[in-house]
C-alpha cells in the first residue's frame, strides 16, 4: 500500500511517503529515524499517547495530570479515557507515580507533583 501522511512525533511535521509491499517497507520524507518508525506503525498499527487529568480526592478543586506511560492502540483511546474518568487519587502525588496499571499494555502515570 502507498500512503502520504504527516509525522506527529515532533513539531516539524514532516510529510512522509510510505510504501508497504508485504514485509518490505519504504519511507521517504522523514528528517530523522523516528519518522520512519512512526510511518510504518501508523500504517500497520497506529498508536497514540493519551493525556488527561484525574481528580485528587483530598484536595479542593484539584486535578492531577496523567499520561499513558507508552502509546496505546489508537482504537482504544476512548476505552482508556473511560477508565481514567472513573479514577481518583489521594495526594501527595509525585511525577511518575503509577495511578493505574495494565491499561491496554501500559500504565497511567502522574505528570505533576501534588503536595
Amino acid at each position: 500500500m502507498k500512503r502520504e501522511l504527516t509525522c506527529i512525533i515532533c513539531p516539524r511535521g514532516c510529510l512522509l511517503s510510505v510504501n508497504i509491499d508485504g514485509t518490505k517497507t519504504c519511507v521517504s520524507g522523514n528528517n530523522c529515524p523516528k519518522g520512519e518508525k512512526y510511518a510504518v506503525e501508523e500504517c500497520i498499527h497506529p498508536t497514540r499517547t493519551v493525556t488527561s487529568v484525574v481528580r485528587v480526592e483530598n484536595r479542593d478543586h484539584t486535578m492531577v495530570s496523567v499520561k499513558t506511560a507508552s502509546p496505546v492502540p489508537k482504537e482504544n483511546i476512548f476505552d482508556v479515557m473511560q477508565i481514567i474518568r472513573k479514577t481518583s487519587v489521594k495526594a501527595p502525588v509525585k511525577i511518575g507515580d503509577i495511578i493505574l496499571t495494565y491499561i491496554y499494555g501500559t500504565d497511567i502515570i502522574a505528570t505533576k507533583h501534588i503536595i
Partner: protein, 416 residues
C-alpha cells in the same frame, strides 16, 4: 525599600529559565515574582505532551517540563515570591508589588520581563449576538478543565485554529464532548500540522477555513452559533451563513503579550509583536530592563522560550556585573514576505554570531531567505517551507561581518 540584583517578573518557563541562567552566570541575588500559587505559568494547564523534544531530548507534558525548571530553581535556592502581583515598574527599576503581607517595593539592578500573554476576548473580537453563558477563551476552558476539574460544555464550536484551539478540540473530545467544528478566519490554519492530524483528523472534527462566527445565540446558555464564510477582506459573505447548534463556544483568536507594566515603565513596544523592542541581548530600550518569552513575542515551542530566556538571564547578569555596555546598534527590518524580525536592533560590531528570528506573512513552499545590510549580503538560508505559525531562525556569522553600517533587512523569495 529592599534591594535585589535581578528581579524577574513572571515564574513561567521564561522566568524560571532566565533565573537559572542568571544564577549560573554568577549573579546569585535573583528573585522571581509570580502572581499564582505555584511556578510554572501556563505550563501547569498544558497537560498534553510535545514539550522538550529539542531542549531536553525527550517528549514531556507541560507540567513535567515546568517541574524540570522548578527543580533547577529550588536546587539553586533562588528566592521566589508567589501569590505576589507586580503592579508597577519604574524607569529607574523600582518594582512595586503586593501580596497578603502588604506592599513590596524592590530596587533592582536589572529587571527581566517574563509575564507571558493573555487571550483575545469576545469583546475585543466584537462578535455580535446575545451574551449567554458558555463562551470561553480556549485557555480559560483549559484551566477550568485541567486544573479544577470542571466540565465546560457538551457540544462545542471552536473559533480559531491556532494550537490552543486545536489542542482543546482534542481535549474536549476526550472528555466526551462533541466538537462540531473548528472555524478559522484565514484561508490556512495557524497551528502546527501535527496538531491538525492528532487533534482534528484523529477525531474526525471538520476544519472550516475562511470561516468565522457571525453571531452567538442563546438566552442564558449558548444555544448555537451562526457561522459564515469570509471574503478576501475577511468580511462575512451573507449568503453563506449557516447555523450550528451547540452549547459552548471556545475562542482561540490570538495571544496578546501582557505589557501593561512594560508601558508604564516607558518602554517602547513593537506594533507588530506587541512586545518590547529589543537588541540581541534581549535588552529593551531602557537600560537594565530585559524581556523574554511570550511577553516579548508569541512562541510556538516552549523549548525556544527557554533558549531565549537563557539569553536574557545571561545578559541581565552581565549587565549587573558591569560587562554589558550599550554599543552602537543597527536596526533590523522585515522585507518581502516577512512579518517581523527579532531582535529589532543588533550591535553594529558584534563579537558573536547573531541569530535573527522571524515570522512570515503567509504560507510559502520552498523559500530562500536573504539577510542584507545595504547591498551587502550577510546570510542566506533555504527552507523547504515557511508558515506564519512556525517561527524561523537565521544565523548571521559575524566573522565575515565585523562592521554593520546600514539597516539589516530580512526578506524571502520563493524558489523551485
Amino acid at each position: 525599600m529592599i534591594q535585589h540584583d535581578i528581579v524577574i517578573i513572571g515564574g513561567g518557563p521564561a522566568g524560571m529559565a532566565a533565573s537559572v541562567a542568571a544564577w549560573d552566570s554568577g549573579v546569585r541575588d535573583v528573585v522571581i515574582i509570580d502572581r499564582e500559587k505555584e511556578l510554572g505559568g501556563i505550563l501547569k494547564q498544558c497537560i498534553h505532551n510535545g514539550f522538550g523534544l529539542h531542549k531536553l531530548g525527550k517528549e514531556l507534558t507541560g507540567p513535567e517540563y515546568a517541574a524540570v525548571y522548578e527543580e533547577a530553581v529550588a536546587d539553586r535556592g533562588i528566592k521566589v515570591f508567589c501569590e505576589t502581583m507586580v503592579t508597577d515598574i519604574s524607569e529607574d527599576r523600582t518594582v512595586t508589588a503586593q501580596n497578603s503581607d502588604g506592599i513590596l517595593k524592590i530596587k533592582a539592578k536589572a529587571i527581566i520581563l517574563a509575564m507571558g500573554c493573555r487571550e483575545r476576548s469576545r469583546g475585543a473580537l466584537n462578535i455580535p449576538g446575545t451574551r449567554p453563558a458558555g463562551v470561553y477563551s480556549a485557555g480559560t476552558a483549559q484551566k477550568l478543565m485541567n486544573c479544577m476539574g470542571y466540565s465546560v460544555g457538551k457540544r462545542v464550536v471552536i473559533l480559531g485554529s491556532g494550537d490552543i484551539g486545536l489542542i482543546m478540540a482534542r481535549r474536549m473530545s476526550l472528555q466526551g464532548a462533541k466538537v462540531e467544528a473548528v472555524c478559522e478566519i484565514m484561508p490556512y490554519s495557524g497551528g502546527l500540522t501535527r496538531n491538525i492530524v492528532q487533534c482534528l483528523d484523529d477525531f474526525h472534527i471538520p476544519l472550516y477555513l475562511s470561516t468565522t462566527v457571525a453571531e452567538i445565540h442563546g438566552r442564558e446558555r449558548v444555544e448555537g452559533v451562526t457561522v459564515a464564510q469570509v471574503d478576501e477582506n475577511r468580511r462575512v459573505i451573507e449568503s453563506t451563513k449557516r447555523y450550528i447548534p451547540c452549547d459552548t463556544l471556545l475562542l482561540s483568536c490570538g495571544l496578546i503579550p501582557e505589557n501593561e507594566l512594560t508601558s508604564s515603565a516607558g518602554i517602547p513596544l513593537s506594533t507588530v509583536t506587541s512586545g518590547a523592542l529589543v537588541d540581541e541581548h534581549r535588552q529593551t530600550e531602557r537600560e537594565g530592563i530585559f524581556a523574554c518569552g511570550n511577553v516579548l513575542h508569541v512562541h510556538d515551542l516552549v523549548d525556544y522560550v527557554s533558549d531565549e530566556a537563557e539569553i536574557a538571564g545571561k545578559s541581565a547578569a552581565e549587565y549587573v556585573k558591569g560587562n554589558l555596555s550599550l554599543a552602537d546598534t543597527v536596526k533590523t527590518a522585515a522585507g518581502n514576505g516577512v512579518r517581523y524580525v527579532l531582535p529589532q536592533r543588533v550591535t553594529a560590531s558584534p563579537k558573536e554570531d547573531i541569530s535573527l528570528f522571524l515570522r512570515v506573512t503567509k504560507p510559502f513552499g520552498k523559500v530562500r531567505y536573504t539577510v542584507k545590510s545595504g547591498n551587502e549580503v550577510l546570510a542566506t538560508a533555504v527552507r523547504p517551507k515557511a508558515a506564519p505559525g512556525e517561527m524561523e531562525k537565521i544565523t548571521v556569522k559575524t566573522e565575515k561581518h565585523k562592521n554593520i553600517r546600514e539597516e539589516i533587512t530580512v526578506s524571502l523569495e520563493e524558489v523551485q
